[in-house]
């Protein structure tokens, strides 16, 4: 009944290997000596050709930051009591601590559960954390699945025997630059101070470019 994208685990495992390789590259390179807490994937995944509908504007949203800015994307769902609110609250804390320059950071949440996350529910959820946050939602299961691939996001939404909905999903936050490249991927549970330091480093780099 519900959309289910199986095989997410194999994609995830593949990503883990890629992430591991990225970490090695970071350890060996790094001209400035700054080692981010987020994972650097190499080559940086390109999501510039991914677009999905944004609820408020009704337009297709292209996953690229504004020039010199950053776009932070989370794939989640609103019936998520623990992981999703925790991740968004940590990101919000990081951005509050950054202060004014955080205005150059856009935040977008893509729902993996469009059946339950109606446009209204999704928008209300995103806006609790980020009043200007973007709510990305499509009912086109194939388009959503295709968009997830370059991110390395995986998800599975199934109704169990009790009629309750079980959701498995990756809990990463992705920092995307103006070229649509995923510069950093933060695993669930990354400390908000570490996210802040990483965002500040990326913003500084963007303003110097």
């Amino acid at each position: 009944m519900r959309f289910s994208r199986r095989g997410g685990f194999s994609v995830g495992r593949w990503i883990t290997i890629a992430l591991g390789a990225g970490l090695v590259l970071v350890a060996c390179g790094g001209s400035e000596g700054y080692v981010p807490a987020g994972i650097v994937r190499s080559p940086a995944p390109d999501v510039s050709r991914v677009s999905l509908p944004e609820v408020t504007s009704g337009n297709d949203f292209v996953f690229r930051a504004e020039p010199g800015g950053l776009l932070v994307v989370f794939w989640g769902y609103t019936s998520c009591p623990d992981v999703c609110p925790t991740t968004l609250a940590d990101l919000r804390r990081a951005m509050r601590d950054i202060g004014e320059s955080a205005e150059a950071i856009e935040v977008a949440m893509v729902t993996i559960d469009p059946d339950r996350d109606t446009p209204e529910v999704l928008t209300a959820f995103v806006h609790v954390f980020f009043p200007d946050g973007l709510a990305i939602r499509t009912e086109d299961a194939a388009a959503l699945a295709a968009a997830a691939v370059p991110f390395g996001a995986s998800y599975e939404v199934t109704a169990n025997a009790d009629g309750l909905v079980d959701v498995l999903h990756t809990g990463f936050l992705y920092a995307i630059d103006e070229n649509g490249l995923i510069r950093l991927t933060w695993p669930f549970g990354t400390n908000s101070d570490d996210i802040r330091l990483d965002l500040e480093a990326l913003l500084k780099e963007g303003s110097n470019a």
Binding site: L168, T170, G171
Partner: protein
């Protein structure tokens, strides 16, 4: 013979007195229960706290006030090697003597389903935890953004 009868009776009486005096406060306490505010139409929420126990016990059930949510259960979030998050029901939690068990974001939590109304920052609601030994412990959960 009379002695053999009296001794168990005495032990029973002492045990009753013990449980009446000990109750929920001395055996187990629940520290700093809190929940995040929720958005309008959001149907789930989570409660976090720390259980501190003087005596070994097990947490076997939970309920929240009916004004807040339809049901509540003990849950645990876990992450696999590929970063996939999942939640599972936890039938019971063992609390070691003189130990504590932390319910925190990304780990153990009380999952509330069918929220009746949004949890508003600054509000509070009642939650009852059921322990095998200590019995029911009801605490006031603070809703706050953190």
């Amino acid at each position: 013979m009379p002695k053999a009868i009296r001794l168990p009776a005495l032990i029973t009486v002492l045990a009753l007195v013990g449980s009446a005096c000990g109750g929920s406060d001395e055996g187990v306490s629940i520290d700093q229960p809190w929940a995040r505010p929720t958005a309008a139409a959001q149907d789930t929420g989570a409660v976090y706290f720390t259980i501190v126990a003087a005596e070994e016990d097990s947490l076997i059930g939970v309920s929240v006030s009916a004004e807040v949510a339809g049901s509540a259960a003990l849950h645990e979030t876990s992450m696999d090697a590929a970063g996939v998050m999942m939640m599972s029901m936890v039938p019971s939690i063992e609390v070691p003597a003189d130990g504590e068990v932390v319910f925190a974001p990304g780990g153990l939590h009380v999952m509330m389903r069918d929220l009746v109304e949004p949890l508003l920052d600054g509000a509070s609601f009642e939650m009852t935890l059921v322990f095998a030994q200590a019995g029911d412990i009801t605490v006031e959960v603070d809703v706050r953004d953190q």
